[in-house]
Amino acid sequence: MAVTGFLTDSTLCIGCKACEVACKEWNDVPDDGFVWSGLSYDNTLALGHSTYRHVKFVERQPKSGCGGNAGEQLTWEFSSDVCKHCENAGCLEACPTGSIVRTEFGSVFVQPDICNGCGYCVVSCPFGVVDRRPDDGRAFKCTFCYDRQKAGAEPACAKACPTGSILFGRLDDLERAADRRIAQLHASGMTDATIWNPKETSVGGTHAFFLVRGDARAYNLPPKPEVPTTLLKQSWSAAAVVAGAMAGLSLAAFLYSSSNRRGAK
């Protein structure tokens, strides 16, 4: 089975939130509150246990003008965020029940019939995607429409996207498409368009990757995400050293005690 992916192109996104709606409806995801955030048109704010697609509204701050003159133009960009389906997925490695698996499409999937809600995937995701649904108790995140892909259909968000900002397809095809799109954008003068796909980090690239403008940090896309398993070696080494030291110290302390007792006799 071919590895599939998402290419989300922020230069084509119009912020309509059709992906959010389609995802909620298809996956029967519950309501997770209604707040006016005051942060541009983004009242969704983050991916979470009941939000698998999240449209970001990035307002670039203009340099303020002087004496009432206009500064730089305010820019307004949109980008639909989603689970990254990491090549080395922190949540998958951390899951103690084996509930989180890699599917035949290369995506990362939480099996709801196995998850016992331990919450360890929540702190192991470098992108803050997976979360525990409080009233349900289990962890949820984007399923990459596993059910639809099984049936040969594209994910709900990609199908509902009216502008082709969310592209679904074979991962290798999408990577080539992204390169072509970048070349096209650069040629037409949009030289700040870049691809965010952390291939050089321990995450090893993501199956959902993004075309954004300028500094990807403005989209809360971390520049150097690391999968937590890279910390295991140093942490376990420290644990082994301190465990050995405690055992040795305890033995030495009681040997000292026993020699004292013998001396007193």
């Binding site: 005051g38 942060l39 983004d42 701050q61 490695e93 951390a94 899951c95 103690p96 029940t97 084996g98 509930s99 998850c115 016992n116 809600g117 331990c118 919450g119 360890y120 929540v122 702190v123 995701c125 470098p126 803050g128 995607v129 979360d131 525990r132 649904r133 108790g137 289990r138 500094d215 940090r217 403005a218 989209y219 809360n220 971390p222 520049p223 150097k224 995400p225 690391e226 937590p228 910390l231 295991l232 140093q234 942490s235 376990w236 420290a238 644990a239 050293v241 301190v242 465990a243 405690m246 055992a247 110290l249 305890s250 033995l251 302390a253 009681f254 000292y256 005690s257 026993s258 004292n260």
Partner: protein, 315 residues
């Protein structure tokens, strides 16, 4: 003229606005300077841990139980008093018996706790921990039950297994927090197991001391733990990076410092200055116990505070 803000606040706002940095939350007045930011409205990147009070309490109970079983074994090997060995074994067994329910209670689906034993994943500290607790709980309970049934060999064998798994119990929880995406935890991935180990050592020897055992060995262990805790406190204080901010600032910083004081300098001073006083040793033990519990709470809460701050991840 009645107002809910003092008149000086208006001066403050004017001065901040003139400098281009209004620190007020809420609506930005039209035309006010936009603060420069390289994040998405400063919103968090990682999710905070969903764990509640059960988890720090488990770290405390499991750690104390784990080191207790080590003390039980080493005390027995060196011919220490039978009552000390028995009490240490009982503390291990009771600690393990409390640990299981605490962990199950914290699950989102407690009825599915057995799914923890569906697979063994060495790359998941949570999986290693579940299996370790299973082994430790069985062995430490086996040791005291076999002792009650006067099956000495079985009891000693179980106590040996309990001590081995107890060492993991006392330290793996540091790895559990360290090997995550939470900045304050991953920044301290190397020192967390040491800190938690020292905390477990302090609480185990303190519990035995408070049970009335006045073995010099317990004082040595308490002294070593307090010295190590003091060192850890200094190390934390000297970390001035943005990742470690929750350990210094705000309510979590305060908890860290209070926990550190009761774990490190206070018992260290009591044990060194009151070297001949049994009373000083007991106060030191009580202080270490409180410090250990506060330290676990502080680390978990610091993780929650750390998850809210996107800065370390956007560097």
């Amino acid at each position: 003229m009645k107002s809910h803000i003092p008149e000086t606040r208006l001066d403050e706002i004017r001065n901040q606005a003139a400098l281009g940095q209004l620190d007020a939350k809420g609506v930005r007045p039209p035309g006010s300077p936009f603060p420069e930011t390289n994040s998405y409205y400063g919103l968090p990147i990682v999710k905070p841990p969903v764990w509640t009070w059960e988890i720090p309490l488990y770290f405390f109970a499991g750690g104390a139980a784990g080191v207790s079983s080590v003390i039980a074994l080493t005390a027995q090997m060196t011919g220490a008093s039978k009552s000390l060995v028995r009490d240490a074994r009982w503390i291990a067994a009771i600690g393990a018996a409390v640990s299981g329910p605490l962990l199950i209670l914290d699950l989102g689906r407690p009825e599915r706790f057995l799914n923890m034993l569906r697979v063994f994943k060495p790359q998941s500290p949570m999986s290693v921990g579940a299996w370790t607790l299973t082994a430790f709980g069985t062995a430490s309970a086996g040791a005291v039950i076999a002792e009650l049934l006067r099956m000495r060999r079985v009891s000693d064998a179980a106590a040996f297994i309990a001590a081995l798994s107890g060492l993991v119990m006392a330290t793996y929880t540091g790895v559990l927090l360290g090997a995550t995406a939470i900045p304050v935890w991953s920044r301290h991935a190397r020192s967390l197991p040491v800190h938690f180990g020292a905390s477990a050592l302090a609480s185990a020897s303190a519990l035995l001391a408070l049970r009335g055992h006045d073995e010099p060995a317990l004082n040595i262990l308490g002294l070593a733990a307090a010295a190590l805790e003091t060192y850890m406190g200094i190390e934390i204080e000297s970390c001035d990076d943005v990742e470690s901010e929750p350990l210094r600032n705000g309510p979590t910083g305060l908890t860290t410092r209070i926990g550190g004081f009761f774990s490190g300098p206070l018992p260290l001073a009591l044990r060194l200055l009151g070297i001949r006083s049994k009373r000083a040793r007991r106060v030191a033990a009580a202080s270490a116990l409180l410090g250990s519990l506060l330290t676990r709470v502080a680390w978990v809460e610091a993780g929650k505070a750390s998850a809210a701050d996107p800065r370390p991840l956007l560097k």
